[in-house]
Protein backbone atom coordinates (compact mmCIF):
# COMPACT_ATOMS: atom_id res chain seq x y z
CA UNK A 1 0.00 0.00 0.00
CA UNK A 2 2.76 2.37 1.01
CA UNK A 3 4.57 1.86 -2.29
CA UNK A 4 1.58 2.96 -4.32
CA UNK A 5 1.25 6.13 -2.31
CA UNK A 6 4.92 6.98 -2.86
CA UNK A 7 4.22 7.43 -6.56
CA UNK A 8 1.87 10.29 -5.77
CA UNK A 9 4.31 12.31 -3.67
CA UNK A 10 5.93 15.40 -5.09
CA UNK A 11 9.38 14.07 -4.20
CA UNK A 12 8.89 10.95 -6.26
CA UNK A 13 7.57 12.85 -9.24
CA UNK A 14 10.43 15.36 -9.25
CA UNK A 15 12.92 12.48 -9.29
CA UNK A 16 11.00 10.67 -12.01
CA UNK A 17 10.83 13.80 -14.17
CA UNK A 18 14.57 14.36 -13.97
CA UNK A 19 15.54 10.75 -14.55
CA UNK A 20 13.12 9.68 -17.24
CA UNK A 21 10.01 11.69 -18.12
CA UNK A 22 11.87 14.95 -18.66
CA UNK A 23 15.40 13.64 -18.86
CA UNK A 24 17.62 16.65 -19.67
CA UNK A 25 19.48 14.91 -22.49
CA UNK A 26 17.05 12.41 -23.98
CA UNK A 27 13.85 14.47 -23.80
CA UNK A 28 14.82 18.11 -23.37
CA UNK A 29 18.02 17.66 -25.46
CA UNK A 30 20.00 20.07 -23.28
CA UNK A 31 23.70 19.83 -22.46
CA UNK A 32 24.43 17.99 -25.70
CA UNK A 33 27.75 19.78 -26.30
CA UNK A 34 29.41 18.46 -23.17
CA UNK A 35 27.70 15.08 -23.52
CA UNK A 36 29.36 14.63 -26.92
CA UNK A 37 32.74 15.92 -25.76
CA UNK A 38 33.32 13.82 -22.67
CA UNK A 39 31.48 10.60 -23.43
CA UNK A 40 34.34 8.75 -25.13
CA UNK A 41 35.64 7.32 -21.87
CA UNK A 42 33.59 6.12 -18.90
CA UNK A 43 35.80 7.74 -16.25
CA UNK A 44 35.48 11.15 -17.93
CA UNK A 45 31.71 10.72 -18.16
CA UNK A 46 31.43 9.80 -14.48
CA UNK A 47 33.59 12.69 -13.30
CA UNK A 48 31.77 15.17 -15.52
CA UNK A 49 28.40 13.81 -14.38
CA UNK A 50 29.25 14.20 -10.70
CA UNK A 51 30.66 17.69 -11.24
CA UNK A 52 27.56 18.80 -13.13
CA UNK A 53 25.28 17.25 -10.50
CA UNK A 54 27.02 19.16 -7.72
CA UNK A 55 26.90 22.46 -9.61
CA UNK A 56 23.20 22.06 -10.50
CA UNK A 57 22.31 21.35 -6.87
CA UNK A 58 24.42 24.24 -5.53
CA UNK A 59 23.22 26.79 -8.06
CA UNK A 60 19.58 25.69 -7.81
CA UNK A 61 19.83 26.06 -4.04
CA UNK A 62 21.26 29.57 -4.30
CA UNK A 63 18.88 30.74 -7.02
CA UNK A 64 15.92 29.35 -5.11
CA UNK A 65 17.04 31.11 -1.92
CA UNK A 66 17.24 34.52 -3.55
CA UNK A 67 14.47 33.95 -6.12
CA UNK A 68 12.26 36.71 -4.68
CA UNK A 69 15.01 39.34 -4.94
CA UNK A 70 16.30 38.68 -8.47
CA UNK A 71 15.10 41.45 -10.83
CA UNK A 72 13.67 39.69 -13.87
CA UNK A 73 15.71 41.74 -16.35
CA UNK A 74 19.05 40.59 -15.03
CA UNK A 75 18.07 37.07 -14.01
CA UNK A 76 20.13 35.34 -16.72
CA UNK A 77 23.28 37.21 -15.71
CA UNK A 78 22.56 36.42 -12.09
CA UNK A 79 22.34 32.68 -12.84
CA UNK A 80 25.51 32.88 -14.91
CA UNK A 81 27.46 34.62 -12.13
CA UNK A 82 26.25 32.15 -9.50
CA UNK A 83 27.04 29.11 -11.69
CA UNK A 84 30.51 30.41 -12.65
CA UNK A 85 31.31 31.13 -9.01
CA UNK A 86 30.46 27.56 -7.98
CA UNK A 87 32.40 26.05 -10.86
CA UNK A 88 35.51 28.08 -10.00
CA UNK A 89 35.16 27.16 -6.33
CA UNK A 90 34.99 23.46 -7.25
CA UNK A 91 37.95 23.80 -9.59
CA UNK A 92 40.15 25.52 -6.99
CA UNK A 93 39.15 23.10 -4.26
CA UNK A 94 40.07 20.12 -6.44
CA UNK A 95 43.37 21.68 -7.49
CA UNK A 96 44.34 22.38 -3.90
CA UNK A 97 43.24 19.20 -2.16
CA UNK A 98 42.80 16.58 -4.88
CA UNK A 99 45.39 17.51 -7.54
CA UNK A 100 45.25 14.07 -9.18
CA UNK A 101 41.49 14.29 -9.80
CA UNK A 102 41.88 17.87 -11.02
CA UNK A 103 44.55 16.74 -13.46
CA UNK A 104 42.36 13.90 -14.75
CA UNK A 105 39.41 16.22 -15.34
CA UNK A 106 41.49 18.97 -16.93
CA UNK A 107 39.44 21.45 -18.87
CA UNK A 108 36.17 19.58 -18.27
CA UNK A 109 35.54 21.24 -14.92
CA UNK A 110 35.52 24.67 -16.57
CA UNK A 111 33.17 23.32 -19.22
CA UNK A 112 30.45 22.83 -16.60
CA UNK A 113 29.83 26.61 -16.79
CA UNK A 114 28.64 26.23 -20.37
CA UNK A 115 26.32 23.33 -19.59
CA UNK A 116 22.83 24.46 -20.53
CA UNK A 117 21.15 22.08 -18.06
CA UNK A 118 22.47 24.09 -15.10
CA UNK A 119 21.08 27.35 -16.47
CA UNK A 120 17.95 25.55 -17.65
CA UNK A 121 17.07 24.23 -14.19
CA UNK A 122 17.73 27.63 -12.60
CA UNK A 123 15.39 29.35 -15.02
CA UNK A 124 12.73 26.65 -15.34
CA UNK A 125 12.57 25.38 -11.78
CA UNK A 126 14.70 26.95 -9.06
CA UNK A 127 13.54 30.51 -9.75
CA UNK A 128 9.92 29.52 -9.07
CA UNK A 129 10.08 26.81 -6.42
CA UNK A 130 11.05 26.46 -2.75
CA UNK A 131 14.56 25.48 -1.76
CA UNK A 132 13.97 21.85 -0.80
CA UNK A 133 12.27 20.94 -4.08
CA UNK A 134 14.89 22.84 -6.05
CA UNK A 135 17.67 20.80 -4.48
CA UNK A 136 15.86 17.56 -5.31
CA UNK A 137 15.18 18.77 -8.84
CA UNK A 138 18.88 19.56 -9.24
CA UNK A 139 19.84 16.11 -7.99
CA UNK A 140 17.33 14.38 -10.27
CA UNK A 141 18.46 16.27 -13.35
CA UNK A 142 22.14 15.80 -12.51
CA UNK A 143 21.65 12.06 -12.16
CA UNK A 144 19.53 11.95 -15.31
CA UNK A 145 22.40 13.62 -17.17
CA UNK A 146 25.00 11.35 -15.60
CA UNK A 147 23.38 8.05 -16.43
CA UNK A 148 22.75 8.89 -20.09
CA UNK A 149 26.36 10.08 -20.35
CA UNK A 150 27.69 6.89 -18.77
CA UNK A 151 25.59 4.66 -21.05
CA UNK A 152 26.89 6.50 -24.12
CA UNK A 153 30.44 6.34 -22.76
CA UNK A 154 30.27 2.58 -22.12
CA UNK A 155 29.24 1.96 -25.73
CA UNK A 156 31.82 4.37 -27.16
CA UNK A 157 34.73 3.26 -25.01
CA UNK A 158 33.99 -0.40 -25.71
CA UNK A 159 33.94 0.07 -29.47
CA UNK A 160 36.73 2.67 -29.68
CA UNK A 161 39.26 1.19 -27.27
CA UNK A 162 37.95 -2.27 -26.34
CA UNK A 163 37.99 -1.23 -22.69
CA UNK A 164 35.60 -0.14 -19.94
CA UNK A 165 37.00 2.13 -17.22
CA UNK A 166 40.42 1.43 -18.78
CA UNK A 167 40.05 -2.32 -18.15
CA UNK A 168 40.54 -4.42 -21.27
CA UNK A 169 37.26 -6.15 -22.11
CA UNK A 170 37.49 -7.08 -25.78
CA UNK A 171 40.43 -9.12 -27.14
CA UNK A 172 43.34 -7.38 -28.89
CA UNK A 173 42.21 -8.82 -32.21
CA UNK A 174 39.08 -6.63 -32.07
CA UNK A 175 39.23 -3.97 -34.79
CA UNK A 176 38.90 -0.65 -32.96
CA UNK A 177 36.35 1.84 -34.26
CA UNK A 178 38.41 5.01 -34.32
CA UNK A 179 35.37 7.10 -35.29
CA UNK A 180 33.74 6.19 -31.95
CA UNK A 181 36.45 8.13 -30.10
CA UNK A 182 35.66 11.23 -32.16
CA UNK A 183 32.63 13.52 -32.24
CA UNK A 184 30.78 11.63 -35.03
CA UNK A 185 30.70 8.49 -32.87
CA UNK A 186 29.11 10.54 -30.11
CA UNK A 187 26.42 11.82 -32.46
CA UNK A 188 25.57 8.31 -33.71
CA UNK A 189 25.38 6.68 -30.28
CA UNK A 190 23.55 9.56 -28.60
CA UNK A 191 21.12 9.86 -31.52
CA UNK A 192 20.24 6.17 -31.44
CA UNK A 193 19.95 6.24 -27.64
CA UNK A 194 17.60 9.24 -27.67
CA UNK A 195 15.51 7.46 -30.31
CA UNK A 196 15.25 4.30 -28.15
CA UNK A 197 14.42 6.25 -24.98
CA UNK A 198 11.72 8.25 -26.75
CA UNK A 199 10.20 5.08 -28.24
CA UNK A 200 10.13 3.45 -24.82
CA UNK A 201 8.59 6.45 -23.07
CA UNK A 202 6.22 7.14 -26.00
CA UNK A 203 7.53 10.68 -26.21
CA UNK A 204 6.80 11.94 -29.71
CA UNK A 205 7.02 15.45 -31.01
CA UNK A 206 3.61 16.44 -32.27
CA UNK A 207 3.40 18.67 -35.31
CA UNK A 208 1.20 21.63 -34.60
CA UNK A 209 -1.28 22.29 -37.33
Amino acid sequence: MKLIRVTYTKWYNILKDGLSKENPIAIAVLGICSALAVSNRVENALAMGLGVTFVIIASSLTVSMIRNFIPSRVRMITYMVIISTFVILVQQFLQAYFPSIAAALGAYVGLIITNCIVMGRSEAYASKNPVRYSILDGLANGLGYTYVLVVVAVIRELLAFGTILNVQVLPDTFERWVSMAMAPGGFFVLGILIWIIRELTHNYEVQES
Binding site: F69, V74, T78, Q92, F93, A96, A181
Partner: protein, 192 residues
Protein backbone atom coordinates in the same frame (compact mmCIF):
# COMPACT_ATOMS: atom_id res chain seq x y z
CA UNK B 1 13.60 54.78 -11.92
CA UNK B 2 13.16 52.81 -8.76
CA UNK B 3 13.23 49.58 -10.76
CA UNK B 4 16.61 50.42 -12.31
CA UNK B 5 18.01 51.43 -8.98
CA UNK B 6 16.94 48.11 -7.49
CA UNK B 7 18.59 46.30 -10.40
CA UNK B 8 21.88 48.15 -9.94
CA UNK B 9 21.90 47.56 -6.21
CA UNK B 10 21.17 43.87 -6.72
CA UNK B 11 23.90 43.39 -9.32
CA UNK B 12 26.41 45.28 -7.15
CA UNK B 13 25.65 43.18 -4.10
CA UNK B 14 25.81 39.99 -6.16
CA UNK B 15 29.13 41.07 -7.66
CA UNK B 16 30.62 41.99 -4.29
CA UNK B 17 29.43 38.80 -2.66
CA UNK B 18 30.69 36.43 -5.36
CA UNK B 19 34.01 38.31 -5.68
CA UNK B 20 34.49 38.01 -1.92
CA UNK B 21 33.79 34.27 -2.12
CA UNK B 22 36.27 33.80 -4.95
CA UNK B 23 38.94 35.96 -3.32
CA UNK B 24 38.54 34.04 -0.08
CA UNK B 25 38.84 30.69 -1.84
CA UNK B 26 41.88 31.97 -3.73
CA UNK B 27 43.54 33.04 -0.48
CA UNK B 28 42.79 29.67 1.08
CA UNK B 29 44.03 27.52 -1.79
CA UNK B 30 46.73 29.63 -3.46
CA UNK B 31 49.70 28.36 -1.48
CA UNK B 32 48.56 24.77 -1.69
CA UNK B 33 48.02 24.93 -5.44
CA UNK B 34 51.48 26.43 -5.99
CA UNK B 35 53.05 23.77 -3.74
CA UNK B 36 51.16 21.03 -5.59
CA UNK B 37 52.39 22.28 -8.93
CA UNK B 38 55.97 22.49 -7.76
CA UNK B 39 55.78 18.98 -6.29
CA UNK B 40 54.31 17.70 -9.54
CA UNK B 41 57.16 19.16 -11.58
CA UNK B 42 59.73 17.77 -9.16
CA UNK B 43 58.10 14.34 -9.21
CA UNK B 44 58.24 14.31 -13.00
CA UNK B 45 61.91 15.30 -13.04
CA UNK B 46 62.68 12.57 -10.52
CA UNK B 47 60.65 10.03 -12.54
CA UNK B 48 62.80 10.91 -15.55
CA UNK B 49 65.98 10.20 -13.60
CA UNK B 50 64.40 7.04 -12.17
CA UNK B 51 65.08 8.22 -8.61
CA UNK B 52 62.70 6.75 -5.99
CA UNK B 53 60.76 9.15 -3.74
CA UNK B 54 57.57 9.35 -1.71
CA UNK B 55 55.09 12.21 -1.40
CA UNK B 56 56.62 13.28 1.90
CA UNK B 57 60.29 13.06 0.95
CA UNK B 58 60.01 14.54 -2.51
CA UNK B 59 61.47 17.99 -1.73
CA UNK B 60 64.36 16.52 0.24
CA UNK B 61 65.20 13.91 -2.42
CA UNK B 62 64.98 16.53 -5.17
CA UNK B 63 67.36 18.92 -3.38
CA UNK B 64 69.84 16.12 -2.64
CA UNK B 65 70.07 14.51 -6.06
CA UNK B 66 69.21 17.13 -8.67
CA UNK B 67 71.01 20.34 -9.67
CA UNK B 68 68.94 23.04 -11.32
CA UNK B 69 70.63 25.50 -13.66
CA UNK B 70 69.02 28.35 -15.55
CA UNK B 71 70.87 29.50 -18.67
CA UNK B 72 69.47 32.13 -21.05
CA UNK B 73 66.00 31.57 -19.67
CA UNK B 74 66.10 27.81 -20.21
CA UNK B 75 65.94 25.60 -17.13
CA UNK B 76 68.14 22.50 -17.00
CA UNK B 77 67.84 19.72 -14.42
CA UNK B 78 70.94 17.58 -13.95
CA UNK B 79 71.04 14.21 -12.19
CA UNK B 80 74.15 14.48 -9.96
CA UNK B 81 74.76 10.73 -10.09
CA UNK B 82 74.44 9.96 -13.81
CA UNK B 83 74.80 13.41 -15.42
CA UNK B 84 71.58 12.84 -17.30
CA UNK B 85 70.00 16.09 -18.45
CA UNK B 86 66.33 17.09 -18.38
CA UNK B 87 64.85 20.14 -20.05
CA UNK B 88 61.43 21.46 -20.93
CA UNK B 89 60.02 21.42 -24.45
CA UNK B 90 57.08 23.42 -25.65
CA UNK B 91 55.27 24.03 -28.91
CA UNK B 92 51.95 24.10 -30.73
CA UNK B 93 49.96 20.88 -31.12
CA UNK B 94 46.70 20.54 -33.02
CA UNK B 95 44.38 22.25 -30.50
CA UNK B 96 46.76 23.84 -28.03
CA UNK B 97 50.30 23.80 -26.69
CA UNK B 98 52.15 20.57 -25.94
CA UNK B 99 54.52 21.07 -23.00
CA UNK B 100 56.69 18.39 -21.48
CA UNK B 101 60.05 17.31 -20.14
CA UNK B 102 62.69 15.46 -22.13
CA UNK B 103 65.43 13.54 -20.32
CA UNK B 104 68.61 12.71 -22.24
CA UNK B 105 71.47 10.43 -21.25
CA UNK B 106 74.84 12.07 -20.46
CA UNK B 107 75.79 11.67 -24.16
CA UNK B 108 73.06 14.31 -24.79
CA UNK B 109 71.69 12.18 -27.59
CA UNK B 110 69.93 9.09 -26.21
CA UNK B 111 66.39 9.62 -24.93
CA UNK B 112 65.92 8.26 -21.43
CA UNK B 113 62.42 9.49 -20.64
CA UNK B 114 59.71 11.81 -21.92
CA UNK B 115 56.87 13.28 -19.87
CA UNK B 116 53.99 15.48 -20.98
CA UNK B 117 53.02 18.23 -18.55
CA UNK B 118 50.27 19.78 -20.59
CA UNK B 119 48.44 19.00 -23.83
CA UNK B 120 45.03 19.61 -25.35
CA UNK B 121 45.00 17.07 -28.17
CA UNK B 122 41.85 15.17 -29.19
CA UNK B 123 41.05 12.78 -26.33
CA UNK B 124 41.59 9.18 -27.40
CA UNK B 125 43.42 10.15 -30.59
CA UNK B 126 46.15 12.80 -30.33
CA UNK B 127 45.74 12.57 -26.56
CA UNK B 128 47.65 9.29 -26.78
CA UNK B 129 50.76 11.47 -27.02
CA UNK B 130 50.62 11.93 -23.23
CA UNK B 131 50.17 8.22 -22.44
CA UNK B 132 53.01 6.19 -20.99
CA UNK B 133 52.87 3.25 -23.45
CA UNK B 134 53.34 5.63 -26.38
CA UNK B 135 56.01 7.78 -24.70
CA UNK B 136 57.99 4.70 -23.73
CA UNK B 137 58.48 3.88 -27.43
CA UNK B 138 60.84 6.89 -27.51
CA UNK B 139 63.12 5.53 -24.80
CA UNK B 140 66.56 4.51 -26.06
CA UNK B 141 66.06 6.30 -29.39
CA UNK B 142 68.61 8.85 -30.60
CA UNK B 143 67.87 12.50 -31.24
CA UNK B 144 66.86 13.87 -33.64
CA UNK B 145 63.59 11.95 -33.78
CA UNK B 146 61.85 10.82 -36.94
CA UNK B 147 58.19 9.87 -36.46
CA UNK B 148 57.10 7.39 -39.15
CA UNK B 149 53.56 6.74 -40.34
CA UNK B 150 54.19 3.50 -42.27
CA UNK B 151 54.69 0.15 -40.57
CA UNK B 152 58.38 -0.55 -40.09
CA UNK B 153 61.00 -2.08 -37.85
CA UNK B 154 61.66 1.08 -35.91
CA UNK B 155 65.34 1.54 -35.25
CA UNK B 156 67.80 4.19 -34.07
CA UNK B 157 65.83 7.42 -34.36
CA UNK B 158 62.53 6.19 -35.74
CA UNK B 159 59.31 6.07 -33.74
CA UNK B 160 55.81 4.99 -34.81
CA UNK B 161 53.25 7.73 -35.33
CA UNK B 162 49.96 7.70 -33.41
CA UNK B 163 47.21 6.02 -35.43
CA UNK B 164 44.55 8.50 -36.45
CA UNK B 165 46.52 11.51 -35.24
CA UNK B 166 48.79 12.52 -38.09
CA UNK B 167 48.94 16.20 -37.20
CA UNK B 168 49.66 15.58 -33.52
CA UNK B 169 52.46 13.20 -34.53
CA UNK B 170 53.93 15.76 -36.93
CA UNK B 171 53.68 18.52 -34.34
CA UNK B 172 55.27 16.39 -31.64
CA UNK B 173 58.21 15.53 -33.91
CA UNK B 174 58.76 19.21 -34.74
CA UNK B 175 58.51 20.30 -31.11
CA UNK B 176 61.02 17.69 -29.88
CA UNK B 177 63.55 18.33 -32.61
CA UNK B 178 63.40 22.12 -32.65
CA UNK B 179 63.67 22.34 -28.85
CA UNK B 180 66.60 19.92 -28.94
CA UNK B 181 68.34 22.01 -31.57
CA UNK B 182 68.04 25.23 -29.57
CA UNK B 183 68.48 23.96 -26.04
CA UNK B 184 71.47 21.65 -26.41
CA UNK B 185 73.87 24.13 -28.12
CA UNK B 186 73.15 26.65 -25.34
CA UNK B 187 73.93 24.00 -22.76
CA UNK B 188 77.12 22.87 -24.52
CA UNK B 189 78.42 26.41 -25.01
CA UNK B 190 77.93 27.03 -21.35
CA UNK B 191 79.84 23.95 -20.30
CA UNK B 192 83.11 24.99 -21.98
Amino acid sequence: MNRYLKMIVFVSILGLFTSALLLGMNQLTNARIAANEEAKLKSMVLDGFDIPYTDTTINQVFDDTVTVEVIDGYTYYIDDATNALTFRFEGGGVWGPIIGLLTLDSDLETIVYITILEQEETPGLGGVVAERPYLSTFEGKLMTIDIKKEALDTSDSEVDAITGATRTSDAFETILNSTYETVIPIWENNQE
